[in-house]
């Protein structure tokens, strides 16, 4: 009896986990190694902080002069146009692409081809697609729109295809049993089940396109990113801060609106 109690009290409640400790040590060693490779040193960091103080000094106060605000407005509106158009075109193209990629509706070779197209759309960062489109259609908003259309197609069609694959096939069978053709089966059997989620993806993609439209301008794709990059290259750091604040404000609003919309359409 005595020995049993002592054995119970001697057991530590949280025994040392040596595997976890080894992994944490390995992680710390990797961090040191990577810092060495990337030439990240304390010395450089401190020198950078000095630089950073000067940089911040030149950013403040943000430049709110009327002429700059005009530039800001033009750039921001163009970003919004890019976001709206690329999402709209992306939705139109994703509907058929997503349907083709759904394995429960299409024969194997069709869905695998569609899946290949989707994977290709997803594998390149929008900035890289934007570079290619800038070469193909020239500088300006159109290149940005096309780059984001590709990104939207990748995202919306993939999730749309997954939503279709998860739906119940009974309703589809019921509609088919009435003698409906393929198109009627889609409209009456498939869409009612997935349309709410589809709208959710679209709203999410609109939000994400707005974020990315601030970036394609850096490689010549138009929008607020172009304004920002020009201001940056001219060392107009106070205007850069104005633009950054505007971007943060717009994206915060967009995030709230898109969350509300998604809730309303669920």
């Amino acid at each position: 009896m005595d020995r049993l109690v002592s054995a119970a009290t001697a057991r530590t409640p949280f025994p040392a986990n040596w595997t976890a400790r080894a992994l944490w040590t390995a992680l710390a060693l990797y961090v040191l190694y990577a810092c060495g490779i990337l030439d990240v040193s304390w010395d450089r960091f401190v020198r950078g902080l000095d630089n950073g103080a000067r940089f911040l000094g030149r950013m403040f106060p943000p430049d709110f002069s009327a002429q700059k605000l005009d530039l800001l407005k033009v750039g921001m509106l163009e970003s919004m146009q890019i976001a709206v158009l690329s999402t709209a075109a992306g939705i139109v193209l994703s509907l058929p692409l997503g349907l083709l990629a759904a394995r429960n509706l299409m024969p194997g070779w069709v869905s695998w081809t569609a899946r290949g197209v989707i994977a290709l759309c997803r594998s390149f960062h929008p900035v890289i697609t934007a570079i290619l489109f800038v070469k193909a259609v020239g500088f300006g908003a159109l290149a940005g729109v096309l780059a984001l259309v590709v990104a939207s197609m990748g995202f919306i069609s993939k999730l749309f295809a997954e939503a279709i694959e998860e739906m119940s096939l009974r309703q589809v069978e019921a509609v088919r049993a009435t003698g409906a053709g393929f198109f009627n089966v889609l409209v009456m059997g498939v869409f009612p089940q997935v349309i709410a989620r589809f709208i959710g993806f679209c709203v999410y993609q609109l939000d994400s396109n707005l974020r990315n439209s601030t970036m394609v301008g850096i490689v010549g794709g138009g929008g607020i990113g172009a304004t920002l990059f020009t201001a940056y290259q001219r060392f107009d750091y106070d205007f850069v801060l104005t633009i950054l604040l505007a971007i943060i404000a717009v994206i915060m609003v967009a995030e709230v609106v898109s969350a509300q919309l998604r809730k309303a359409f669920q």
């Binding site: 030439d39 950078g48 908003a141 138009g222 950054l244 943060i248």
Partner: protein, 261 residues
């Protein structure tokens, strides 16, 4: 006779308004967006030219620049993710309402998370290049600062959704606050923490591949050099390598995820 309707009148009006607004936005954008038609006439030729000049791919560029840049990209993404994980933990703790019972602190933390997410990694990179000069340090910090918002938000949500039982048990046993965090919260959020980390690492590899376009190191620098020299055969190699890396990370992360999570 009453007809059954799925939505209330207010809901129906709201939906109709949303559709109308969406249509108006599309029409407005179509009519006002600036497209220079002269550029469009030769778009097919330009595209054909683009691919013709990419072929054959210039493999000698691999040893010259790409191999080294590729290693740099990998370390930028990985180190950036680790820094982001370390920095996002305190912010997430402040943002979780059940851990920090102060509305002001919650709001401050939420603001940090949202600003981190709304500024794109490329724009973060611009700022850090201005501060630290061109190179991988700027890229690493850009990746880290962009990821804080993402990781912190998901971590804070995981913390808020936790069951209370184990925490109350620890508190009842007289455990101090630090021990409750380490032995109550941590084991419960650990799986979602690592799965978020893995997910973000996958994204960061893609993003760090383009940071070089603004001078923040990695394979993007090689791409930028090739683009500026108009050596499209070298651009082709860079694109091919980036594609291979993205596919490889995707395969690797899904393999790790199915093994440990």
């Amino acid at each position: 006779m009453r007809r059954w309707r799925r939505f209330t009148p207010a809901q129906r009006i709201g939906r109709a308004l949303t559709y109308v607004l969406a249509a108006v936005a599309v029409v407005w954008s179509l009519r006002t967006i600036e497209v220079i038609p002269e550029f469009l006439y030769d778009a097919p030729e330009q595209t054909a030219d683009l691919f013709r000049r990419m072929w054959p791919i210039d493999w000698s560029f691999w040893g010259e620049m790409v191999a080294e840049a590729l290693v740099e990209t990998f370390h930028t993404a990985t180190l950036g993710t680790i820094i982001a994980l370390a920095l996002s933990v305190p912010v997430a703790l402040l943002a979780a309402r059940n851990i920090t019972p102060s509305a002001t602190l919650n709001l401050v933390a939420k603001f940090i998370l949202v600003s981190s997410r709304s500024v794109n990694s490329l724009i973060w990179a611009l700022l850090f290049v201005a501060i630290f000069g061109p190179g991988a340090l700027a890229g690493t910090l850009a990746i880290a600062f962009r990821s804080i918002g993402f990781v912190g938000k998901l971590l804070a949500e995981a913390l808020e959704e936790m069951p209370r039982g184990p925490l109350e048990a620890l508190a009842a046993a007289g455990a101090p606050r630090g021990a409750i965090l380490l032995k109550g919260y941590w084991p419960q959020v650990e799986p979602s923490f690592w799965s978020v980390a893995l997910f973000r690492w996958d994204i960061n590899i893609r993003e760090s591949a383009v940071l070089g376009l603004v001078g923040a190191g990695g394979i993007g620098v090689a791409l930028d050099t090739a683009l500026n020299n108009l050596y499209w055969d070298q651009v082709g190699l860079c694109l091919l390598v980036i594609f291979a890396v993205v596919v490889a990370t995707e395969v690797a992360t899904s393999a790790i995820r199915s093994r440990i999570i």
